[in-house]
């Protein structure tokens, strides 16, 4: 199983532990990742707010590069990148004039053969639950995890084409496969407000607080995420939320891949556990 790998900007700095833990999980499950050489930013929300053509051309570059590597599938672990790459591939498939414009901008051609893959989907459907269970050496017994999907893993459904749009369970399935308990809760797909987090912090805190409160009320020991933006927002803003609402949740926010990696026998350093702001060692030490 060989895939082109598009880490994206966050995984190079603020979400380094997502990159480390994805690579660790791939190592234990026989998934081969080949990083796209000299990849460029997908433009995220700022490109699509300012220029439609730019918002397609930036991520299309990664698709063209994937083809040049002779590969047909690309994994983008960051959900913002994932969505932009998917939108680019789908819109170019449906709109010949747009595809031609993008080719003019990139000064290269695109055959349209690349499939953009979500990393949860790869573990669940290409690797499979059975193989994941076989790879577990230290099951996460007794750990209560609230799986948080956020906005774009399932939405909009015609782009994401993944899981149940209002009540997804794929991350829950993966957590159960590595021995953890996935708690039932109501905020799996509520927005955490991250796109407002830097520019309009106060407005974002209301949304962030609701998600954390929901996870705590469901009795979770930690929250599992699959998006670097959700992670940094839910993790970094707990102090500000404590100051605003008087509730200090002290809830570790971990990438699902960090938890999976630990179950596969990776060390805490291998999965970058020390990089998480709210200390996860107390809840993980108990298992």
């Amino acid at each position: 199983m060989k895939y082109a790998y598009y880490p994206g900007c966050s995984l190079e700095s603020s979400a380094k532990e997502y990159d480390l833990s994805i690579r660790a999980c791939c190592h234990f499950t026989g998934v081969e990742l080949v990083e796209i050489p000299d990849w460029i930013c997908c433009g995220a929300s700022s490109a699509h707010a300012t220029s439609h053509l730019l918002s397609i051309a930036l991520p299309a570059k990664a698709l063209v590069q994937t083809e040049a590597m002779g590969l047909h599938q690309v994994i983008a672990p960051c959900v913002a990148c994932l969505t932009r790459l998917k939108v680019a591939s789908m819109e170019m498939a449906d709109d010949d004039a747009l595809k031609k414009d993008v080719e003019t901008v990139l000064e290269g051609s695109y055959q349209g053969k690349v499939k953009v893959r979500n990393v949860l989907d790869v573990f669940l459907n290409d690797v499979g639950v059975e193989k994941i269970q076989e790879a577990v050496v230290s099951p996460l017994k007794g750990l209560k995890v609230a799986c948080y999907y956020g906005c774009l893993l399932t939405r909009p459904p015609h782009i994401a084409q993944f899981d149940d749009v209002e009540n997804p369970h794929s991350m829950d399935d993966l957590m159960r496969a590595v021995g953890a308990e996935a708690v039932d809760w109501s905020f799996k797909t509520d927005c955490c407000g991250v796109s407002m987090s830097l520019a309009e912090t106060d407005a974002a805190l209301d949304l962030t607080n609701r998600v954390l409160e929901g996870a705590k009320d469901a009795g979770a020991d930690c929250v599992a995420v699959a998006c670097p933006l959700c992670q940094s927002n839910l993790d970094l803003r707990q102090k500000a939320i404590g100051n605003k609402y008087g509730v200090f949740y002290d809830l570790p926010i971990l990438y699902f891949s960090q938890l999976m990696g630990l179950a596969f026998g990776a060390t805490s350093r291998d999965v970058g556990l020390e990089k998480v702001i709210v200390d996860p060692f107390p809840v993980l030490g108990a298992i």
Partner: protein, 187 residues
């Protein structure tokens, strides 16, 4: 809001449909979009009201509204719309038009966010996270905003002090130039 409209009011909706393929005229005001919108509490003109204003041809009012600037593109509205209108694509068209036509953006913060973000991509080919946060705060004249988070992130190895530049910066610059050229030739 009370407005008087005359004659054919559908031209703005048609303009939007031409830009993104979404037919706002099919909206029948069920208000599911507004009900599910996590940012509705901030918007002066709610999403469903914005859709109605588009139907009424109120181009000026819509392009100077705050709706699309509070929108976080979470896609809840588009997912639940019974008419299948991809409302976030409509938001994108409105943001793009407001930017390009020089409308006053009611949220200076969000305008600065997009500008500083794309400047980083243009300069380095990638987002330089620490530089981005600092430039944004300078632009917002609040240089010490979130200053407490910087040392925490640095100590956790979550921030790089220097930007990660791509090797082939020339082609990144070219990409931006080509987009601009193509768009200007069609304006």
């Amino acid at each position: 809001m009370k407005v008087a409209v005359k004659g054919d009011t559908s031209s703005f909706a048609k303009e939007i449909e031409q830009a993104c393929g979404q037919d706002v005229l099919t909206c029948y005001q069920c208000r599911k979009c507004t009900m599910g919108c996590p940012m509705a509490f901030k918007m002066e003109l709610k999403v469903s009201e914005m859709m109605r204003a588009i139907q009424l041809g109120l181009r000026e009012e819509v392009l100077s509204a705050d709706t699309m600037w509070w929108c976080v593109s979470c896609e809840t509205c588009a997912t639940r719309c019974p008419q299948g209108i991809e409302i976030v694509e409509v938001m994108d068209v409105l943001r793009e038009k407001a930017f390009k036509e020089g409308y006053k953006i009611p949220l200076k913060t969000i305008e600065a966010f997009h500008k500083v973000f794309l400047d980083s991509v243009k300069s380095y080919g990638r987002l330089y996270e620490m530089g981005f946060a600092m430039d944004l705060n300078l632009k917002l004249r609040d240089p010490l905003k979130d200053a407490d988070l910087g040392p925490v992130m640095l100590s956790k190895g979550k921030l790089k002090l220097l930007p990660d530049k791509v090797k082939d910066l020339k082609s990144v610059k070219k990409l931006f130039e080509n987009v601009k050229k193509l768009e200007e030739s069609r304006a």
